[in-house]
Every structure is written in structure tokens, then in C-alpha cells.
């Protein structure tokens, strides 16, 4: 393990805890990464193929986005790591000068590609573009991510659906630990690129704990909580999250993968998570769904045809400052720009929500923030989802 420690001591990352909630596990930090500092808790929008769904990088900067995601599987296929490396990495290819996080590619292989097979060597799958069989090993995943030049890389993990139980979950957990070591060894740029471990173990508390024990022995720059947000019961979900944050080191960032609903974000910040990503806000925008503090508006519905208010009168985004629900409703029938307007609004909503969360932690009023958030989101307290109430109660925030 000696070599592993040496790698991490040079990690290009610094986490400064700015404030901690005296009641819950929430914390506000400044995460300094190679391209700029990131204020946490942070929501990271997903730009799968080196672009954020119709939004220019300047628009994304104007929304004050400090970090976004790229997907290794997609970018590795098209345009390919060689080309991106020639373009000075993904930053140079897409002309984004702030931070990027890339996933390992493993999740997409299991979720998108039929006939993928996992062995100790890696994940084997058939390319959807040319039908060739491809083996993705931990070394290759890191190799591609080194070419992409992301600020945060994710280890290749053995992903099992969160609804699977039994010995396969345990096998995947142990294999993910072994693959972590291979990823650490494979990283060619430990001085420029951070490698995060991914905690696995399904919904089994014992396996999660074992994975946490094993992985926290490695001095990696940060940890992700993986294998959740895949259709499991919310009661199981939050318990795995809070178990994970309980055992993760205080001085390192904690990234909860695949979480992006406003309620989940607020609850999981209370449980001690710092970073989140999800395609939901941008994907739902393209279907005409605009996020608001009281839920969402399905702008394609007829009820908005003559609604001359902005999406959210209190929102400061470029869409709300200029356009009405009625116009967006009309525009949806003729042009893709309608999607761009709502994508901008939804990203703005997510980022503004996280800024408010952070400020409330700094101001030592996070529990009050959570209560006000719940009140706004739900018409009455008997509609609060019980899992959220329990999860918040577990960190001493009583909302109902």
C-alpha cells in the first residue's frame, strides 16, 4: 500500500470545510480542483458527449456552474480518446475552462449495452457502433480518463443493480476493491487528475461497511457512494447513504452518484454528502418539465397556453427574466430553442438550490432551511414522504 499513499499525498485537490451544521451532518466546503474552486454542496450537470444539451459553455459559465460531467463510455466511443487527447483533453475539445468529472464507463456498459459480461479482467461488451467485442479493464478506463484529462476520475467498479441481492453483490464489492487498486496503479497523472473510489455493497449494511473499511484504507483523494439510485426503496437508499457518510473520512469529499431530485439533494446534504450529479434536470427539461420550488410545471400542457407569468417569478435565470410560460408552451411546438430555455432554467434552479443550501449551512440555519424547503415543496406536512421525514429525523431535523 505504500505506493498508494505516495500517490495521494500529491493529489491535486484540497478540501476546506467552511462550516458544519451543528444539528445534522450537513457541511459547506470549498473544494479546490485543478481548474477552479468548487463551492459545496454542489450539483454537477451532466454533459454526456462533451456538451451540455444545447447550452453553450459560455451560458453554462454565466449560470456559475463550476464543475460538470462527461461520460467516458460515450466519449471513448466517439470521438475517441486519441482525438480528445490531441485537442488538449476534454477541456480543450469542448472549450470548457472549469472542472470536469468523468465516470468510469462501467455503468453505461451495464445499463446501455446488452450482453455485457463482467470478469475479473474487466467488462466485456459489444460496441453498438461497429459490433466489435470490446474489453474495458480498470487500466483502460483510467487510460481513457487520463486522455480526457478530467479533474476527477472515477474508478471502474463492478456495478450491480441496486435491486439485486445475494452473493453477486458481495462478489461485486470485493472486485470493486481489487479494481480500485488497479485503477490507482494505472493513473498516469496523479499530480493533475484525482481518482475517486466508489463505495459498493448494494443494500447490505454489512457489505457496505466492509467496503468502506477496505476502501478508506486507500488514501484516495475522494469517495463516491455508488450502487444506489437504481430503483431501490427510498428507505434502503437513505440508510446506505447515512451509513456511508458515517464511516467516510471527514477531510475528504463525498460524492453521491446519480442523485438529482431536489428533495433527495436536500436530504442527502443533511446526511453529509457534498457532491451530486444526475441527468434528470436536463433530460426532463427536454420533455417540457420546468423545475420550481413547489415541484415542476409540465409546460407542454394546455393549461399554460395563456399563462403569461414566467416559470418562477422569483427565479433570476435568463429564461424567467425574458419569457412567459405561454410563450415557451407555444415555442415547444416549433423549435428546439424551447428545450434550451427550460434546460437553462432547470440547471439554474439546481445550482441556485445548492447555493441556498450552502448559505444556510454557513449561516448556521440549515435545519430551518430544510423546514422551509419542505413546506414550499409539499402542500401539507402529511404529504411529506415518510423516508425523507425519517432520514431527516435521523440527523435531528424534525420536519413534521
Amino acid at each position: 500500500m505504500a505506493s498508494v499513499k505516495a500517490v495521494s499525498s500529491a493529489a491535486p485537490l484540497a478540501l476546506r470545510i467552511v462550516a458544519e451544521c451543528p444539528v445534522s451532518k450537513a457541511r459547506a466546503c470549498t473544494l479546490t480542483l485543478p481548474h477552479c474552486a468548487v463551492n459545496t454542496p454542489v450539483f454537477m450537470p451532466v454533459g454526456t458527449q462533451g456538451t451540455l444539451k444545447g447550452i453553450t459553455v459560455d451560458q453554462l459559465e454565466d449560470l456559475d456552474c463550476q464543475i460538470c460531467l462527461g461520460n467516458t463510455y460515450h466519449l471513448g466511443m466517439r470521438p475517441g480518446p486519441e482525438l480528445i487527447e490531441k485537442a488538449n483533453g476534454l477541456h480543450g475539445f469542448m472549450k470548457w475552462n472549469r472542472n470536469l468529472l468523468t465516470d468510469s464507463g462501467g455503468f453505461q456498459m451495464v445499463s446501455l449495452v446488452e450482453l455485457s459480461e463482467v470478469t475479473e479482467q474487466g467488462v466485456t461488451f459489444r460496441s453498438p457502433y461497429d459490433g466489435k467485442e470490446i474489453l474495458l479493464t480498470p487500466e483502460q478506463s483510467i487510460g481513457i480518463q487520463n486522455s480526457l484529462g478530467s479533474d476527477i476520475m472515477m474508478q471502474l467498479d463492478d456495478v450491480v443493480s441496486s435491486t439485486v441481492r445475494g452473493p453477486r453483490v458481495e462478489e461485486a464489492m470485493h472486485r470493486s476493491v481489487r479494481w480500485l487498486d488497479r485503477c490507482i496503479t494505472a493513473n498516469k497523472n496523479p499530480d493533475r487528475q484525482n481518482l475517486f473510489a466508489i463505495i459498493q455493497g448494494g443494500l447490505d449494511a454489512k457489505l457496505r461497511k466492509a467496503c468502506l473499511d477496505e476502501m478508506t484504507k486507500r488514501d484516495v483523494p475522494g469517495f463516491a457512494i455508488g450502487g444506489l439510485s437504481g430503483g431501490e426503496e427510498k428507505d434502503d437508499f437513505w440508510k446506505m447513504v447515512t451509513l456511508s457518510t458515517h464511516h467516510l473520512p471527514r477531510e475528504k469529499p463525498r460524492y453521491l452518484m446519480g442523485v438529482g431530485y431536489a428533495l433527495d439533494l436536500v436530504v442527502c446534504v443533511a446526511l453529509g454528502c457534498d457532491m451530486f450529479d444526475c441527468v434528470f434536470p436536463t433530460r426532463t427539461a427536454r420533455f417540457g418539465s420546468a423545475l420550481v420550488p413547489w415541484g415542476s410545471l409540465q409546460l407542454k400542457q394546455k393549461q399554460y397556453a395563456k399563462d403569461f407569468q414566467p416559470i418562477d417569478p422569483d427565479c433570476q435565470c435568463p429564461t424567467c427574466k425574458r419569457h412567459t410560460r405561454a410563450y415557451l408552451h407555444a415555442l415547444f411546438k416549433s423549435d428546439t430553442a424551447a428545450m434550451h430555455h427550460i434546460t437553462i432554467h432547470n440547471i439554474s434552479y439546481q445550482l441556485a438550490l445548492m447555493r441556498s443550501v450552502r448559505q444556510s449551512i454557513i449561516d448556521q440555519r440549515f435545519p430551518e432551511f430544510v423546514k422551509a424547503f419542505m413546506k414550499r415543496m409539499f402542500p401539507s406536512s402529511d404529504q411529506y414522504p415518510s423516508w425523507a421525514v425519517e432520514a431527516l429525523q435521523s440527523v435531528n431535523i424534525t420536519v413534521s
Binding site: T51, T56, R322, S334, D335, A337
Partner: protein, 415 residues
């Protein structure tokens, strides 16, 4: 609205249209183009991305095609399309059809025309047409017209009927216009029809010119409608019948070579659906319109010498990559050769796309069907098209129109 002509060179009218807009503070240089929109939005672009472009036309074009279905909403809104769509301060020109689409034929009657929105066909009487204009609240709008004569082999009888109907529509629109509060400050443009029959064109022009219109729309000259020489002849003769001091807008003409030919025949205004069409086929306008030869390319490709009479080089079918209707003025960015091309779309172009991004990135966005591909191409293509019009005006002003034509018309071979 006032048209001031500064000079006429080879038939091209150089001038400026002033006193545009509600308070008359806008102007538009001629020859020039209107800003193309669908549902009052330049396709793919938010107001923020659109306004990264400099020197946008001061006149935005909207079409009844894309707005008729929203009539009731606009009537309830009461403040017109400009406010409804959240547009910046701009002059609004409202036309009947969206020139980027071909309207199905066979739906015109003596009393009605049809438009096509997202929900299908909407039949309009003059009353309804004018009610929609009142809801749109444009600064200028084209009168209702029977423009179905663009198809090949339209009979003389049908053409005559189109001219008669269009004049009758104009008279009806004028009566309603004069009664309208909402359209009090708006200008109505009369529509000249007549297909490819000279005497009908002349009759249509003369009769329309007798009416109190602010300007003229030349309809039925779409690229598919007729041979370029025939079109130029018809337009030249038609223009001669129209008063010098009123602007002429031609519909359905977008290609740079056709624009030049129409400008020489006396047309002042054009639409800008062409850069949108180029965008939709994944292409980027890349033709050269700079008169001063670029030292890099000057030695390699000699300008084609063309006759003054408007003879154009045959359009090469560049369909090797499966892109239909591609013109020689553009490059197909989906082509594999741009995969690792780290240059901007057009060297020296000042648009957001070219200043920021490279061909390889736009190629990637197009082959992966990413929405940003359309955004970046639309920005570049509009910028390039506006640049072309600016260069055309400069060429007329500096008496270098022939050099300009030679430059634009030299058919590009590869890259």
C-alpha cells in the same frame, strides 16, 4: 418608412430604409435581409446566443404559418408578438408563409388561403388574416395573396386568377387595415404575383402600385419555380413598374448567387431562411465573399470569369455524402474529413462558433446528434449570411460589384 437610394450600380439599389418601427428609430441598409424566425425565434437560438451576433438586421420576420395557431393566445395577451416572444427592440415584418417549408398546393379558394402550423392546415379569410395581423401587431406585413403559381406548368388561366385574387385580397385587406386601431401605424406590403408570365407580372405590378401600399412583396420566384435567367428578366421588368421610392422584398430566394441576381434586377430585401436550411442539413456556409484576395488562397484558385448578363456556373451536385440539396456555398461538416480538423469553420470569421470552437467539435456534435450542433451552425450560418449582405453593399458602394460576383460565384472545389 422612407427609402433613401444613394446609388444604383448594375441595377443594384444601394440605400437605406429609415423611419422603421413604432417610433421610427430603426433603419435597414439595402440590399439587406430580414431576420428569419419560426414562432418568433431564430431556430435553435435563445436571445442570449442570438445576440452574440453583431449587426443583426433591425427587422425580424415572423410568419402567419407559425403564428396563426396562437391567434387566440395573442389576442388575450394583447401586446403583440414582440412582447409575447420576449424579443429585443426590433421591427417586425409579418409574412404569410414560412419560406423554409413548401406549402402543399390545392388549398386556395377565391375567398381563402391556407397556412400550415404544427397542428395542420388553417384556412384564412381576409377577415381572419387581418385579425391575426392585429394580434401579431407587426410594423409591416404582407397582404393576403394567392401564391400558388410557383409550380411548373401552371396554366395562364390559373396565373391570371392568382393575380386577380391577390388584388382582390389586397383591396379587402386595405379596407380592414384603414379601420384597424391596432394596425394604425403599420405598413401593408402589396404582393406581386404572375408566375412566369410576363404580362401577368406587369399587370400585377401596375395594379398593386396604384394602391396605397408601403412596399412590395415579389412572390412566386422561389428557387424551384423557375430558371434564374427567366426570374431575373421578370423581376427586372416588374421592378420597372414599381415606384422607385418603395422597397421590394422577394420571397423564397436564399442562395447567394440568386440573391445577387435578384439584387441586380432591382430587389431590395430578402429573407434569411437559407442559413437555416443549410444548418438543418448539417452544413456550414463557407463561400468567400471578400473582395480583397486572401493571400493564402489567391494563387490557388483563380476566380471564374462570368459574363455580365448573369450567367451562372452550373451548380455541381455535391451529394457524395448523401446530403441532398447541398449548394456549392457550404461544407458538409458531417463529412469524416472534418473529424480531426482543429480549424474554425471559416478562418477569420468573428461568430461565436468560429471564435470558440473547431470543425472537429462541431463534427462530433453533428454525428452524435447533439442539440448544440444546430445552435453553433445556426450562429455561424447567420453570421456568414449577414456578412455576405454587408459585403454586397460595400461592393456596390465601392463600384466593385463585378469583383464581388466573381468571388462569390467561383465554384468551390473541395476545401
Amino acid at each position: 418608412m422612407k427609402l433613401q437610394l444613394s446609388r444604383v450600380v448594375q441595377g443594384c439599389r444601394l440605400g437605406v430604409l429609415t423611419g422603421l418601427g413604432k417610433s421610427g428609430q430603426h433603419s435597414l441598409e439595402l440590399p439587406g435581409c430580414l431576420l428569419y424566425t419560426r414562432c418568433a425565434t431564430v431556430p435553435h437560438l435563445t436571445q442570449d446566443t442570438l445576440h452574440t451576433l453583431r449587426d443583426l438586421p433591425s427587422v425580424t420576420q415572423v410568419s402567419v404559418d407559425s403564428l396563426a395557431e396562437h391567434q387566440e393566445v395573442l389576442e388575450e395577451f394583447k401586446e403583440g408578438v414582440r412582447n409575447f416572444a420576449g424579443l429585443h427592440d426590433t421591427v417586425l415584418f409579418s409574412s404569410l408563409h414560412d419560406s423554409a417549408n413548401t406549402s402543399p398546393a390545392g388549398h386556395v379558394t377565391n375567398k381563402t388561403v391556407s397556412v400550415w402550423g404544427s397542428g395542420g392546415r388553417i384556412e384564412l379569410t381576409a377577415d381572419r388574416f387581418m385579425a391575426i395581423q392585429e394580434a401579431i401587431q407587426p410594423d409591416c406585413y404582407q397582404s393576403m395573396a394567392d401564391g400558388e403559381t410557383w409550380q411548373a406548368n401552371t396554366s395562364r388561366k390559373r396565373v391570371r386568377k392568382a393575380v386577380d385574387r391577390t388584388l382582390a385580397h389586397l383591396d379587402e385587406c386595405l379596407v380592414l387595415h384603414q379601420k384597424s386601431q391596432e394596425l394604425k401605424q403599420a405598413e401593408i406590403f402589396g404582393v406581386v404575383e404572375g408566375g412566369d408570365i410576363m404580362e401577368e407580372r406587369l399587370r400585377s405590378a401596375r395594379e398593386t402600385a396604384k394602391r396605397p401600399v408601403g412596399g412590395f412583396v415579389l412572390d412566386g420566384f422561389h428557387s424551384a419555380a423557375m430558371d434564374q435567367d427567366v426570374r431575373a428578366q421578370l423581376i427586372r421588368a416588374t421592378s420597372a413598374e414599381l415606384p422607385q421610392e418603395k422597397p421590394r422584398l422577394v420571397l423564397g430566394i436564399g442562395r447567394p448567387d440568386e440573391v445577387i441576381s435578384c439584387a441586380e434586377a432591382g430587389v431590395d430585401l430578402f429573407e434569411s431562411f437559407f442559413p437555416f436550411q443549410v444548418t438543418e442539413r448539417g452544413c456550414a456556409l463557407s463561400f468567400d465573399y471578400t473582395i480583397d484576395p486572401d493571400p493564402e488562397t489567391a494563387g490557388t484558385s483563380a476566380p471564374t470569369v462570368l459574363e455580365l448578363n448573369g450567367e451562372m456556373p452550373a451548380v455541381k451536385k455535391l451529394n457524395g455524402n448523401g446530403v441532398t440539396n447541398m449548394t456549392p456555398f457550404e461544407m458538409n461538416l458531417k463529412d469524416k474529413r472534418y473529424q480531426d480538423d482543429f480549424r474554425p469553420l471559416v478562418e477569420g470569421c468573428g461568430c461565436y462558433c468560429c471564435k470558440k470552437h473547431m470543425r472537429a467539435y462541431v463534427h462530433h456534435l453533428l454525428v452524435t446528434n447533439e442539440l448544440l450542433g444546430g445552435v453553433l451552425l445556426m450562429l455561424h450560418n447567420m453570421a456568414h449570411y449577414l456578412g455576405f449582405f454587408k459585403a454586397l453593399r460595400e461592393a456596390i458602394a465601392s463600384e466593385r460589384l463585378q469583383d464581388f460576383k466573381n468571388r462569390v460565384l467561383q465554384c468551390r472545389e473541395g476545401d
